[in-house]
């Protein structure tokens, strides 16, 4: 029985939220729906952890959907790379589910809360699906499930700008998704298969055709749109700014990471590092774009007055770090990418949660309105400070470890200009986080504002869980780095 259960775990990670979403709709009430959401995400987190251990011990797992053996049926495939991403996604979801209750009660009309949770579960299902699937077309479907539900979630934001932001995201996201679909079509045309491993084994025979090159280009552009790489990032700041707090925290911490994962999966597992980076100058292109993303994102973040928008721009910069890592196509680079994916997920989750807690009290989140909150919401503000330090890359936090491994990865082949870009961008992070911290602690509350108290306990617990996870990963990074190195070996070993 236990063995049967272990064998079913890969599917359960997707099936549980898929079952839970309609249950939420049936329940028709916010409170019980929240409970379902909480249970589902924590169950998935536990599953992801078991899967992580299982893969670590026993190697990759393959699961045939519906009993149709790959390459004909849909295969769920778990290896060292996607178990880490899955652990991140489910972990953030589990913690943000604790956070969601109070935040949703404040921001979403109570008669629609159950729909909100259902959409959140679908989004979660999509993200988990992208992570575990080994089938190219299935990946597209899950990507669209998660995107569609996140458009809806963002549109539930309290300001009317949320609607336009969601619409713009919808246009950009759909174009990205369609590009991905075209790319997968090209691959299918040339190989006659949709299973990633199968495509990978058939590609070398036809690799020199323009069709495959075009397919690669479409896939890169399509996924880049989804994770907001530099020139196609315009949807992200608005979407994150106007989304409800719990959605910003969840999506900022997971959605872009999962899209990056999708691109990594295609580049390394399907095309192979040798094809994508040696035969085509993709590495150089991505490196330049990642530097541009880091510098422009950080620069834009410095000039924001809305804290959520500031964090959104910082996300664009941080995505640059992740892309830079795997664009090096070295083992150290890929593992640096994975490390930063996890760390940035934790950091941004914590930051958006802290900001969401302030929003919960103030209903606004501009630098002026949060002025002086350091005394009135000390726990929330302290969480923001610690997570901010991690974003800057101060030692003893997760962000430092990211920077360390990334610098190591870029300096190893002697790319000192990339190292300089990373450092400059970190120092810019110091400036924009510093602005928020100064507003929190060194300015007085705006005149005529009544004093406010702390956020609810559940919100604080969730925020601080992420903050503490950050510190633990900063002091004891060996397991994370070990996992990331296994991931790098897994994808590079399969590709080259």
């Amino acid at each position: 029985m236990i063995e049967a259960f272990f064998a079913q775990m890969p599917a359960l990670v997707i099936v549980l939220p898929l079952l839970a979403a309609p249950i939420c709709v049936l329940l028709h009430r916010g409170g019980p729906s929240w409970f379902v959401y909480l249970l589902t995400t924590w169950a998935c987190f536990a599953l992801a952890f078991l899967l992580f251990v299982q893969v670590k011990i026993g190697g990759p797992i393959s699961y045939a959907m519906g009993g149709w053996a790959p390459p004909f049926g849909i295969e769920l495939r778990l290896d060292a790379l996607n178990t880490v991403v899955l652990l991140l996604v489910t972990g953030i979801a589990a913690i943000s589910s604790v956070y969601a209750k109070a935040s949703v009660a404040a921001e979403i009309a109570s008669e629609r809360a159950y729909l909100f949770y259902a959409a959140l579960l679908l989004c979660f299902c999509g993200l988990a699906g992208i992570t575990v699937t080994g089938d190219a077309f299935n990946l597209f479907v899950f990507l669209e499930i998660s995107s569609l539900s996140s458009y809806a979630l963002i549109a539930m934001g309290s300001k009317r700008r949320a609607l336009l932001s969601a619409f713009q995201y919808l246009i950009m996201g759909t174009i990205g998704g369609t590009f991905l679909l075209i790319g997968i079509g090209f691959l299918y045309m040339m190989t006659g298969s949709l299973n990633m491993a199968d495509i990978a084994s058939r590609l070398p025979a036809v690799a020199d055709t323009r069709t495959v090159e075009a397919g690669l280009a479409f896939i890169v552009v399509g996924t880049s749109l989804k994770f907001a790489l530099f020139p196609v990032h315009v949807w992200l700041p608005n979407a994150y700014t106007y989304a409800p707090s719990s959605v910003s925290a969840f999506i900022a911490a997971t959605a872009t990471k999962v899209a990056v994962y999708a691109l990594m999966r295609f580049l390394f597992t399907v095309f192979g590092a040798a094809y994508a980076f040696d035969q085509l100058p993709l590495g150089e292109v991505l490196l330049v774009l990642s530097v541009a993303a880091m510098l422009s994102g950080s620069m834009a973040a410095i000039f924001q007055t809305d804290v959520k928008r500031l964090l959104a721009w910082s996300s664009i910069a941080q995505i640059g770090y992740i892309v830079m890592g795997f664009a090096l196509a070295s083992s150290a680079g890929v593992s640096a990418s994975v490390v930063h994916m996890v760390n940035h997920g934790l950091i941004k989750g914590a930051l958006f949660m802290a900001v969401g807690a302030m929003f919960w009290r103030l209903r606004t989140i501009s630098l002026n309105d949060i002025a002086g909150l350091g005394r009135q919401m000390p726990i929330t503000s302290a969480a923001f400070v610690v997570a901010g330090l991690s974003l800057i890359g101060v030692p003893a936090t997760g962000g430092f470890i990211s920077k360390w491994v990334l610098l190591e990865a870029v300096m190893e082949p002697g790319h000192y200009w990339l190292a300089a870009a990373i450092l400059v961008s970190s120092l810019m992070a110091l400036i924009y986080i510093g602005r928020v911290v100064e507003a929190l602690y060194f300015r007085e509350r705006p005149e005529g504002q009544p004093p406010v108290g702390e956020a609810p306990v559940l919100m604080l617990t969730a925020t601080w869980t992420l903050v503490l996870a950050n510190i633990v990963l900063g002091l004891y990074a060996t397991p994370l780095i070990g996992a990331a190195e296994r991931a790098a070996r897994a994808v590079l070993g399969a590709g080259s």
């Binding site: 079913q8 599917a11 099936v15 079952l19 249950i23 709709v25 049936l26 959907m65 519906g66 009993g67």
Partner: protein, 150 residues
Amino acid sequence: MREHTVLRVVTKVLIAPIILFALYVQFHGDYSPGGGFQAGVVFAAAIILYALIFGLAEARRAVSPNLLRITGALGALIFAGTGVYAMLRGGNFLDYDYLAHDAVHGQHYGLLLVEFGVGLTVVSVITSIFYVFAGRGRRNDDEQPPGDAR
């Protein structure tokens, strides 16, 4: 458009065959072209036609949005539940072989159940979308049939 006798009569005559056809497409999906999605759309078309001719309020009374919410969720649950049931029987998710005593029957049952779930959800969702769009901004005067606006 209730005044148009021709339309009313023709609609009344047509709706039953449309639904019947939808059911045919639905339940023959495992033998011939068809299946839940197509059947669901056809079925929803019948409801929408009814709403166009007899008014949104009338349609809402016949097929209430609340019912649609429940059937929509139920459909998804049937779909996922079939898969989970297969899991409980010892197979993989959606492995119909395990649903009955032998694989052939199992495949039939599985396909029927899953397509039924899909169909149910599609009917509900498409009709709900129609209700939401058509009812937008007219909550207060439901007497006005939406067809007049077009």
